[in-house]
Amino acid sequence: MTRNAIGVGLATGLYGISFGALAVTSGFSFAQAQVLSLGLFSGASQFAVVGIMGAGGGALAAIATSSLLGIRNGLYALSLARVLKLSGIKKVFASQITIDESTAMSVANVDDEELSRWAFWATGISVFVFWNIATAIGAIGASLITDPKSFGLDAAVGAAFLALLWPRLINKQIRYIALSAALLAIILIPVVRPGIPVLASVLIAVIIGLRNSGSK
């Protein structure tokens, strides 16, 4: 289990390098990139903040997008609470490392409560450590690059979001939902301010979500 946790941490760390690099080439400082990895510590939200502001969006749009993406972590914490049985200061530390990876590893071992707890802590800590080291490496590396476009780094941001989305496209309905959000975004880009097309996509989640839960 410890080896698995370190494996997940290393794999995640690798894309921490791309986060650090993209943050710096989007105009964020080394310190800002590092604080995002230490404090925000959630890949999709972090990429959203640097992607949106790098593309000319305002701070408010970046904060709103990041936060909407972060709601799921709150739900993870909620469903993990039964297994983790946290008290006091441990709640604070556990909260910070409640992310996709630590939740997935804990849930995968749910039959054995002890192991499930261990998987959560080991994976969360391992990802936190590697993710932050990798961010620093990526940010330092990218600060040596003078023309990010010539390295295709602007193309890397869209690819990063697609790679985060890909494993979630588990059935036909979800693929259609993603497609309609994509269509809405492309229609809205020329007519609203940068950052708004992404926020507007949440409307689709609300409409379909209400319909789905109503029909059950």
């Binding site: 230490l38 492309i186 097309p197 507007a200």
Partner: protein, 105 residues
């Protein structure tokens, strides 16, 4: 204050508050089927919109440049189950090559 710092700090604080609230709020408030159904879809729609915006938008303008080639190559790599870092570097490499040879913007 640099708007980037505002975004960095505010988004970090809110992210922590969201995670922490899951540990202190009674489950019944958030586990209603409506809320669960919506929140499970939020990352899907936002990530899809982010893909589009980062690939086609330059400010409020729709641009068709090397980023599209990068995205298409990323799709191919994902279909072949390539890991995250390979997808990201692959997309950058294609865009970079096409620009180097002056084939696209």
């Amino acid at each position: 204050m640099d708007p980037r710092w505002v975004a960095v700090i505010a988004s970090s604080v809110i992210a922590f508050a969201l995670k922490f609230s899951g540990n202190v709020v009674p489950a019944r408030y958030l586990e209603q089927p409506k809320i669960k159904s919506i929140t499970s879809l939020v990352p899907i729609v936002m990530l899809a919109a982010l893909v589009i915006v980062q690939t086609f938008a330059t400010g409020q303008q729709l641009d068709f440049d090397a980023r599209i080639a990068g995205l298409i190559f990323a799709i191919i790599l994902l279909l072949f189950k390539a890991p995250f870092i390979v997808v990201v570097i692959g997309a950058a490499a294609i865009a970079s090559l096409l620009r180097y040879f002056g084939l696209v913007n």
